[in-house]
């Protein structure tokens, strides 16, 4: 597989907790012979909990460098304190690690060169073997800054892994919101699946994430999860956005999503005779096939 031929799909939501991760987990289980799964929600990565890696290879991720003041040289002149716009230097001239954005302004302006910029491991990423194939996931260290960079790294590694494994698709689980990590999970992808819920908050956040997709000219398809919580708003989502962002499927509320999570399974992997659950499984298979078809991978 040539890297250029590999397609990428990101699942996003705007609002958190709409079911993004549970739905991508099921899609990944369905497409396990075709796709590599990348968990790009780097400060709340959960997919590894479902797919329980049999083996994991971990790598340090270096984010932006951070400042360190050499206390033996420091004369406490205060220039760094005045220079830093991120309030990352304490009154006793220590760098507050969680506030330092790595701009290096203090380093350049210290009159006696007492401030060094040191490499900083801001997280870790993993290539794991799971029952559904390779999973690339990461963990940003608490309070770290470089989430967008780590997302980019996870995507890069997932793409290389897809190439090595001869898979033609990377499925990317994005973060909530519309900011830096989300943008980093969307740059250059072929398609976005937006998982939303029919609540006023869900609608509001959907509207914003769709504006972002329009700016980036990424084709997006909407999944309304738990549509029967409020059918009126589900209807409004359809009528307001359908023209630019088609609705692919509407999934009903069902406790099986949480139940499956507790059993460490994706919903697709749950064995059941329950008609409603079977119906949901069918919807997920159709959704997976829809993605393949749109990307012309349905040979």
């Amino acid at each position: 597989m040539n890297e250029g031929d590999i397609r990428q799909v990101t699942v996003i939501s705007g609002k958190g907790g709409t079911g993004k991760s549970t739905i991508i987990a099921s899609i990944a289980a369905c497409l396990k012979d075709k796709a590599i799964l990348a968990d790009a929600d780097v400060d709340a990565a959960d997919l590894y909990l479902l797919f329980e890696p049999e083996q994991s290879e971990g790598f340090d991720f270096y984010g932006l460098r951070k400042a360190k003041i050499n206390q033996e040289l420091c004369t406490e002149c205060g220039i760094c304190l005045e220079t830093c716009r991120f309030e990352a230097i304490s009154k006793d001239f220590e760098v507050i690690q969680t506030r330092c954005e790595g701009c290096a302004a203090c380093h350049h302006l210290c009159p006696i060169s007492a401030i060094d910029m040191l490499d900083n491991v801001s997280g870790k990423y993993f290539i794991s073997d799971t029952r559904i194939g390779k999973l690339v996931h990461a963990k940003l260290h608490p309070g770290e800054e470089s989430s967008g960079l780590l997302v980019a790294e996870v995507r890069k590694v997932a793409k290389q892994t897809a190439e090595n494994q001869n898979r033609d698709l990377v499925l990317i689980d994005g973060s909530p919101g519309i900011g830096c990590p989300v943008i980093s999970s969307l740059v250059g992808v072929d398609m976005a699946i937006i998982v939303t819920e029919p609540t006023l908050s869900g609608y509001h956040d959907l509207d914003r994430i769709l504006q972002l997709l329009e700016q980036f000219k990424i084709p997006g398809y909407i999944v309304i999860n738990r549509y029967d919580i409020n059918e009126e708003i589900a209807q409004k989502i359809e009528s307001d956005f359908e023209n630019t962002f088609p609705i692919v499927t509407k999934i009903p509320y069902n406790p099986i999503f949480v139940q499956a999570m507790i059993e460490k399974k994706s919903v697709l992997e749950v064995e059941t005779e329950d008609k409603d659950v079977l119906q949901i499984k069918k919807m997920i298979i159709e959704l997976s096939n829809f993605i393949l078809k749109k990307l012309k991978l349905d040979d």
């Binding site: 954005e101 608490p142 309070g143």
Partner: protein, 277 residues
């Protein structure tokens, strides 16, 4: 007293709790710091007005002075500046506004101008003062908006409740900086617990005082409760899961309207928090 409400995982009920508290307690300022997706206003029947633009300073190059030496672009850690044969290009969305380029330019050819990346809004109704930040779509940096929003925290109000963004990265850390107490809203599911643990790790590094509210109690398993007991983390409150609450939430009705008996529990929760502070 400033209390921030955080969660790790999105959709656990931060906003519902923040709004319910704000509508129950006296003399409150509510701050919605989830500037990517601010939702508190949906639950408040309140008009808000534009208070300020959220801005970051970006460089402007004076080409009468610039010699295209490239010191600015070579030293920008964010790759926001690039020297091309006849000019210095600025990728403004990558600029963090650190000001380094303007300070190290040997020709003093760089000044700064504010660039709007979002807005700060304010409303007031009855007893409640409300502020929120809203990032412009397409912008990447929420942290500066949060820090500018926090400058609008009132010193006169008895209680300030801050609804934080999800996650445990820099926007969350910025939100909780200098608050007196942090409430972690957890959803008792495996994902909810995993994300909560990451937030708690962050809170411990930052030396914050915190307690847990278990929302949607009954939806999943008992692991979260057990974790809190094992780790000796106070469980401040449990809010039950029900489809009725979910349906009302979808229409913008916070759970306090469905479970008015929670008001008394809020009081005892606050008493517990005051004790801890």
């Amino acid at each position: 007293m400033e209390i921030a409400i955080v969660s790790g995982k999105g959709g656990t009920g931060k906003t519902s709790l923040a709004v319910s508290l704000a509508q129950t307690l006296e003399d409150v300022q509510l701050i919605d710091a989830d500037v990517d997706e601010p939702n508190c206003s949906i639950f408040l029947d309140m008009d808000t007005e534009h208070k300020a633009n959220a801005e970051i300073p970006v460089p402007v190059i004076n080409y009468d002075l610039c010699t295209l030496c490239g010191i600015c672009s070579a030293n920008c850690e964010y790759n926001a500046l690039m020297r091309v044969p006849d000019q210095i290009l600025l990728f403004d969305k990558m600029c963090h506004g650190c000001g380094l380029c303007s300070k190290i330019c040997p020709e003093n050819a760089i000044t700064e101008t504010p660039r709007t990346i979002g807005k700060i809004l304010q409303g007031e109704k009855g007893n409640l003062l409300f502020n929120y930040g809203k990032m412009d779509v397409g912008e990447e940096l929420s942290t500066p908006i949060i820090s500018q929003l926090k400058q609008h925290i009132s010193k006169e109000r008895k209680i300030v409740i801050i609804d934080a963004p999800p996650g445990s990265a820099c926007p969350m850390v910025e939100t909780i900086a200098d608050v007196d107490y942090v409430i972690v809203v957890g959803e008792p599911t495996p994902f909810g617990l995993s994300d909560m643990k990451i937030v708690i790790e962050t809170l411990r590094i930052l030396n914050m005082k915190f307690g847990i509210v278990i929302n949607k109690d009954g939806i999943g398993d008992k692991e979260m409760e057990q974790f809190c007991i094992d780790e000796k983390i106070p469980i401040l409150l449990k809010i039950p899961f029900s489809l009725e609450i979910a349906r009302n939430y979808s229409k913008g009705v916070p759970f306090i309207k469905i479970l008015p008996e929670m008001a008394a529990k809020f009081e005892s929760m606050l008493a517990k928090i005051k004790e801890e502070i």
